[in-house]
Amino acid sequence: MINKPDKIIQKQLQGDVTSNSAFLADTDVAVIGGGVVGCAVARKMALKGASVVLIEKASDILDGASKGNSAILHTGFDAPVGTLEWQCVQRGYEEYLAIRKSFNLPLLKSGALVAAWTEEEESRFPDILKKGSENGVKDLGMLSRSEVLSREPNLSVDIRAAITVPREFVIDPWSTPLAYLMQALENGGKALFKAGVTGGEFTGSKWLLKTARGKVRARYVINCAGLYGDILDRDVLGSSEFTIKPRKGQFVVFDKAAHKLITSIILPVPTKRTKGIVLFPTIFGNLMVGPTAEEQEGRDDASVDRNILNELHAQAIKKLPALENIPVTATYAGIRSATERPEYRIIEDTERNWITLGGIRSTGLTSALGLAQHVYGLLLKKGAEFSEVANPSIPKVPNLAEHLPRDCETPDYGEIVCHCEMVTQREIKAVLESDLLPAGSLSGLKRRTRVTMGRCQGFYCSAHLAELTEGKFQEPIAVGETDE
């Protein structure tokens, strides 16, 4: 039986509650953190028939590490062999492809090339091929210089050779987790925003979590707090087995005119520390270069740096010379929740029914569904019993991919608000007025519609947007009215 969410309660959970002593929910599973991992875990729990509450400290999902990733669906060809990360990437990859059409989630079948620009890089190809094969990615191939250039004629002639990864794809990094959480909510789950967890007590059978909005009782807690995962463990459990080492990645986004310059994701030959700087088409019709890998203290300081952006820009031009004449649309940085060790940090406190999913870095977008399967497996081992939802409701997300029909191609959309990204008034209103999961911030609205994310960056539409979003967000665009 489908357990439809109570719309009134849902709205109440998203609105402002002044008292933090209020009792908000008694649930089987509490998922802390509304990033891609938290959204995927909440979905799995709801589908398996558990009652689930996702608890997020920000006013919308994807406010931490998940807001700035490379949007690549990884095959795991270069993952550490035999690790849990590799397993979750593979399972996540398969499940994404199996479910994505039902959610209306797009896929850009770009394929990837691991490109060697130096003799040294080329000398590592045998290792990469061997690792791919050990990881079960059997369709890797080799291209000579001339073969690479016939496939990607705009790449610099300095290219030496490449390994093809045919099933490495590009997806929508924000609609994907949104679809997961929407499905959780449509099938009985709840989401609680502006509810940072401040503490908790385990009473022997259940947790009583304290949040900024009130209390939540839960049998199991899944820590998906990403960049704050270690702090949450310390605050509630008393200690953490790992320390988050925030790793910033800056990106430069090129104008849509660049999209036609490459068809594949151009990967570097990976080094120990990072997958390196990637050139890739985005699902939204841009071309991007990034990310850098910069260790820093700040967990929420996603500052960009002019010198590094210029360096990224120059590197992109070196690999793809035609980019020299393409304007830059946007620059941004994401922060990966790396730890002091390279692997995922999945830690189970079996006595206290608490599972921490820590250290989920660059591969999280792909592995999230696999991690959710893994978590469900852990709960079953603990003897959890839920009855699976028979005919789960499947929400459709609006398409934002450039290569597929957009909302503005269907009449009666009101008017186009954002001309650069062709975002309609109908799309914006739908997200603002959603009963299930309205946007909680301007950034949330941007991620869900693309408004102001194009080449003019709000030159034309900020005023219109200020009017449309008035009274909707804690941090509004307009802070006052004119004197007259």
Binding site: A257, S303, T329, I416, L442, Q457, F459, A463, A466, V479
Partner: protein
């Protein structure tokens, strides 16, 4: 979709209903061209003057001093009176060979085949991102265009104490707009040792009592939710923090030529404007361009109006088969 596609033809299609586009349209009609269609993606035509609340507009065209919004209304009325068709909320999505345009409007996708097309899409200011400015990305960072639309069209203010960047003519316009809306800029900064334009900036900053910081560049923008502070540096590397709740990037206009960039037309790769001959004709002779999409630096409405008229006259001759075909 093809069964719902709306198809139409016209003599001249004009992309953009600002001063140059409307001047061209009016001239074409007055010269006897039968069907002239102006395509404007906004819900009201008139272009940038719609949100420039201050004078002087209209001296060239009407021998009167008007505010931007009154001027915008007047040029629209002039065009309509002359018999121009203005299609609002209509976005041109591609420029095809020989004047074949694809469109999107709330009525659905459409196509318009024009004997000649005039690109009059104007210019916009370079945003923070393309300037590669360091720092965080909080709320409160805008261009003059966005600020003026907010104030004059929507009566709202996005900040109270912004830092204003740039010393072009438009920067003066920005100061005027701030003053009118009760916004007090904390300073005006200019990277160079001279202002981009001479008198209005010195005059304006003195008039409004705003510190003018020359030889000063932005090191980074700080702020979590909203802008809180900007780090500045002078030419000797002396750093200075300035508290503010917004940053207004003025000027550094670039042609609004993304349609051209995505099309078969030749473009000046560095400046981004369509390449035209002395008649304003593009590499595909069915296309012309006029106004601020070609002007660098950008010009005031009166000059764009004149440019639109001049190009329209060439289009008329071209349509009559009398224009010289040499490029």
């Amino acid at each position: 979709m093809s069964d719902t596609l709306k198809y139409d033809i016209c003599d001249v299609a004009i992309i953009g209903g600002g001063p140059s586009g409307l001047a061209a349209a009016t001239t074409l009609k007055k010269s006897g061209v039968e069907r002239v269609v102006v395509l404007d993606r906004e819900s009201v035509a008139g272009g940038v003057p719609r949100h420039c609340g201050h004078p002087p507009f209209g001296i060239v065209e009407y021998k009167r001093i008007l505010s931007g919004p009154s001027y915008a209304k007047k040029i629209v009325k002039t065009a309509i009176t002359a018999g121009v068709d203005i299609w609002l909320k209509t976005t041109v999505t591609s420029l095809g060979n020989e004047g074949r345009l694809t469109l999107i409007s709330p009525d659905g996708p459409g196509a318009l085949e024009a004997n000649r097309v005039l690109i009059a899409t104007g210019a916009r200011e370079t945003p923070r991102s393309a300037r590669m400015i360091s720092g965080q990305r909080p709320l409160g960072i805008y261009n003059t265009g966005a600020l003026q639309s907010m104030i004059y069209l929507k009566k709202r203010v996005p900040f109270h104490r912004p830092l204003v960047v740039g010393t072009e003519i438009v920067s003066f316009s920005a100061l005027f707009t701030c003053r009118k809306a009760g916004i007090t800029p904390v300073a005006l900064v200019e990277e160079n040792k001279k202002t981009s334009v001479m008198w209005p900036i010195g005059y304006g900053t003195r008039l409004f009592g705003i510190p003018l910081l020359m030889n000063t560049s932005i090191l980074s923008i700080q702020g979590h939710e909203r802008v809180e502070m900007v780090k500045l540096s002078d030419k000797d590397g002396n750093e200075k923090d300035i508290n503010c709740d917004g940053v207004l990037f003025t000027g550094q206009f670039i042609p609004e030529s993304s349609l051209v960039r995505m099309s078969h037309l030749h473009i000046n790769q560095i400046t981004g404007e369509p390449i035209v001959d002395k008649y304003g004709r593009c590499s595909d002779p069915s296309y012309y361009a006029a106004g601020n999409v070609l002007f660098n630096p950008v010009k005031v409405a009166g000059k764009c109006w004149r440019a639109g008229q001049a190009t329209a006259q060439w289009i008329v001759k071209d349509l009559m088969g009398t224009a010289k075909r040499k490029i």
